[in-house]
Symmetry: D2
Subunit: 136 residues, 4 copies
């Protein structure tokens, strides 16, 4: 399993009139978690796109347990539980607040796609190599 | 079953560098669909909040089939398939583009909550009355 | 002078914990106003981009007089006060609430740019022709 | 003069189909700059709101020189050039990319307001004290 955590601070723009983070913004928090998890492997998501491979989300599932609030320092945990063998990659993601309370649980499925051809592709070799280390 | 559809135009701000609508923005499209579906019943979501009842989302599930693009006139369809009998309400939601292609399917579960008490509540009587008509 | 108004409803996602529309979202409201003003001329902003001309904003000035609130039906008024003679176009924009109160005043300066060449361009002939009618 | 800089990474959600940061998102970057500048003084913006003082933006002016791009590590510089003597406070703000190029220049004027009374207030004593050190 590969796991990485990153921390961000809740912005004013991300709150709504219920005085909590707007429910739609967790998709963005999850995106940040995935991007930083990939960067930590030693390859950036931007590098992958520059190779002509894009990673559209095909499925998103979120459970909201407790709200994040303005100025909270939240931790986004991202896990890859199994090494992708075809065009699919699944991230299990969680958001915690500064006192360690679990706020949100989610799962995101993405496809590796060839941007020019518009069809499914395999995970880039460089990313496969970096990731394989965690699954031996 | 109760069903309502509403139409919005994709904004520049809602696109991303992949030249499609950012995946996190569908939560907002679903919100618009729910709000207009409730308004069409004859009570606004704002009215409900003014009664001291809030409706936090507790679960969100989305499948992305095709992307929405800039300036697309999209239709958001919202269905309530069973009359809420306790504090839960479930919306089944779909997004279509102008040529009728299904882009996104989702399901959103919300809880009626008493804003002051911070605990679960029942659906307001006025909303129950309006909605019951569709389930007789 | 050319003037056009369009109406949108304030979304939950656009509010913040101060229970008003987040100040950064007025840039998006202004964008909607400009896009609909151009569409009303008989050419869409998307058409212009498809011709290879983009319109980046180079200057934005906003005065906030009164806040917009959740679910408000706001009107965005957009004016072009002088016919563009070079690569610049200026929109004077205002936001009103449903009872006609002026909420926000702004001015947005944009440049016509050739997307491929990355340099300043003239307003597309089709748009100039449509717009000229209002300045004769 | 008081000056503070903070760094953030451009998120996918913040880009648009022009492959740059959407122009409306700079208001949010400026907000982050101000919030971190105030925190660096030793009082958080959230603390100020908890004292019953809110800081609505009354004027925003931005000049866009160069675009920020996806995954850029941008620096937001915030300056307070004169010690507020009444209810007004002005921030001069700039955004730079990782290679030190100036991308955006802005100025934001805010009012200290008593949230309950809905009228103008003075800067909280604690903030005035912390800030005065830089203007002696």
């Amino acid at each position: 399993m590969y796991e990485h955590s990153t921390t961000v601070r809740v912005r004013y723009a991300e709150t709504d009139r219920m005085d909590v983070v707007y429910y739609g913004n967790y998709a963005m928090y999850f995106e940040i978690g995935r991007v930083e998890a990939i960067r930590h492997l030693g390859v950036s998501y931007k590098d992958i796109e520059d190779m002509g491979i894009i990673l559209p989300v095909v499925e998103l599932n979120i459970k909201y347990l407790r709200p994040a609030k303005y100025d909270d320092l939240i931790t986004i945990k991202s896990q890859i539980k199994s090494l992708p063998i075809d065009h699919k990659i699944i991230f299990d993601q969680e958001v915690y607040n500064a006192s360690g309370k679990l706020l949100t649980i989610g799962q995101v499925k993405l496809y590796f796609m060839d941007a020019d051809m518009g069809k499914r592709a395999e995970m880039p070799a460089i990313m496969k190599e970096k990731l394989a280390v965690y699954f031996s």
